[in-house]
Amino acid sequence: MSEFAIETEDLNVYYGKNHVIKNMNLKIPKNTVFAIMGPSGCGKSTLLRSFNRLLDLNKIARVQGSVKLFGEEIYSNNTDSIVIRKDVGMVFQYPNPFPHLTIYDNIAIGLKMNKLVKDKNEMDSRIEWSLKKAGLWDEVKDRLEDYPSNLSGGQKQRLVIARAIAMKPKVILMDEPTANIDPVGSKKIEDLIFELKKDYTVVLVTHTPAQAARVSDYVAFIYMGELVETGKTGIIFTSPKSKTTEKYLMGELV
């Protein structure tokens, strides 16, 4: 087993003729929060989606190079993207619990369809466990049969996190999880991310350097599809090697 949760080697992603990710070499250590930051349109979200092969959904996306998940190549011919995604949970920029399913069913559906629990009892306790882990249990325990439309944005996002955790993944990918959430809700989610790294590897895409500074252990700065700099968060923020990174952190690069 590799000491890294995710390793990429000469990773290139194209959308048609558009070269979006260029020769990316990243190493993401286990049980850390790894932040990917960069101005919008730099390819952060695309990079994140290459880690669970969600790019397969995009008909014009083409991936070259290698992505290893705990040492195993996920882009070889004999890996099944569906199996990989069971180990890699994902949280999205727009809080997207399924609106037509109850709070309970939102978490249950992945477990049910993947046959991860054997009976109703186990299902109930797994749902309680994941909601507690996501810090949402006390707020929704009396209305599990309600639809998520009445939850606040932050609560919806924590429900999505619970949905991902319930599958007991090894890695959780988060694509700007607080971009559409109010400050109080964002704070709760950031605290949660800090908690989650005890059990999971969290890869966090963020467009605010401040958030990366607050919650991450490692950070990678990406600009125009290229990796500019990566390393321990403290070091990058205090003494960046690259001028571009410095500019970005000063807020001079949009």
Binding site: N52, I84, N96, P99, S149
Partner: protein, 311 residues
């Protein structure tokens, strides 16, 4: 004039208000015409017009007696067969067009199905009578009768292909473009983020699509209601293939009537008989009510859905 100014009516209101009023008036007027004209039938037979399966058309008015239960049954039966065929077909079609077809073929397929929706129904009727009916007789009815002795013991050898089944299949083909247009549009508008969410849970294509189908359930319900309304009201095509016989039978191979085919085929000679016209009006009134109930049910279901789920 002063009064009009005080409620702030401008020229646009003046043009549009009467139109709204007129549509509503037409609705009431039609209902009234149907009701008054069917009244004699109710006075003579009571609700037996709807509850009995009997059709005695006699030139001696005293002997005349009509009950359209068989036609009511036929309408519901053929429409349900139609839905059973059209719904899975429409959903599969929508998924195929949405997820698998390349863009070029997609547009082509959409145009084809839209043309099919707009074809005059007589075209389906002729095709049904000359092609579908013999086809169903030769390839469905006869083999079933021959190779499933259990069934043949309880029924007679089907004499022709004109039957509830033929009408149901033809109606199913006719309403598929309507239902699939609704489902296809809705499926195309599912936000990408829900698709990503479903796949990120490690679901297969089938499982993820099932979730997305749940998401567009209101559209599927609307499509079903629209299709059912079309099927139950369809006249010409059905009357050419359903066999036009008073038959209160659950056997899909037996010929039957539907309300609209009954009206269409009996209307021509109704003037010979004293009481028949009124009965045909009563039949029309029933169709009116079915339409009303179906639409109210649809509105109720959608409302309940919207209350729970804000998409």
């Amino acid at each position: 004039m002063i009064k009009i100014k005080s409620v702030k009516m401008d020229a646009f209101d003046l043009i549009t208000y009467p139109a709204v009023f007129f549509v509503f008036l037409l609705f009431l007027w039609m209902l009234l015409v149907y009701f008054t004209n069917s009244l004699p039938a109710f006075q003579r037979e009571g609700l037996n017009v709807y509850l009995k399966n009997i059709w005695i058309a006699s030139e001696i008015p005293n002997k005349e007696y009509y009950g359209i239960l068989a036609a009511i049954w036929g309408s519901l039966y053929t429409s349900l067969i139609a839905l059973a065929i059209a719904l899975p077909l429409s959903i599969s079609y929508s998924i195929f067009v949405g997820d698998y077809l390349p863009r070029k073929f997609k547009e082509f397929m959409i145009i084809v199905s839209d043309i099919m929706a707009g074809l005059p129904t007589i075209i389906y009727g002729i095709w049904g009578a000359f092609f579908l009916v013999p086809f169903i007789k030769n390839w469905v009815m006869d083999p079933v009768y021959e190779y499933l002795p259990f069934i043949s013991k309880f029924s007679q050898k089907p004499a022709s292909g004109f039957s509830f089944l033929s009408a149901g299949v033809l109606l199913g083909i006719m309403i598929t473009p309507f239902i699939s247009a609704v489902v296809r549009e809705a499926y195309g508008m599912v936000p990408h983020t829900y698709r990503e969410a479903a796949y990120s849970l490690g679901l297969t294509k089938y499982e993820a699509t099932k979730i997305l189908m749940g998401y567009i359930k209101p559209a599927i319900i609307s499509g079903v209601i629209l299709g059912f309304g079309r099927a139950i009201g369809e006249t010409v095509a059905v009357s050419l293939v359903v066999g036009n016989a008073f038959n209160l039978s659950a056997n899909p191979f037996s010929p039957g009537y539907t309300i609209s085919s009954l009206i269409a085929t009996q209307y021509g000679n109704s003037f010979i008989y004293e009481h028949m016209t009124s009965v045909l009006y009563a039949a029309g009134l029933f169709l009116f009510f079915i339409g009303l109930i179906i639409n109210l049910l649809g509105i109720y279901l959608l409302r309940r859905w919207r209350k729970n789920v804000s998409l």
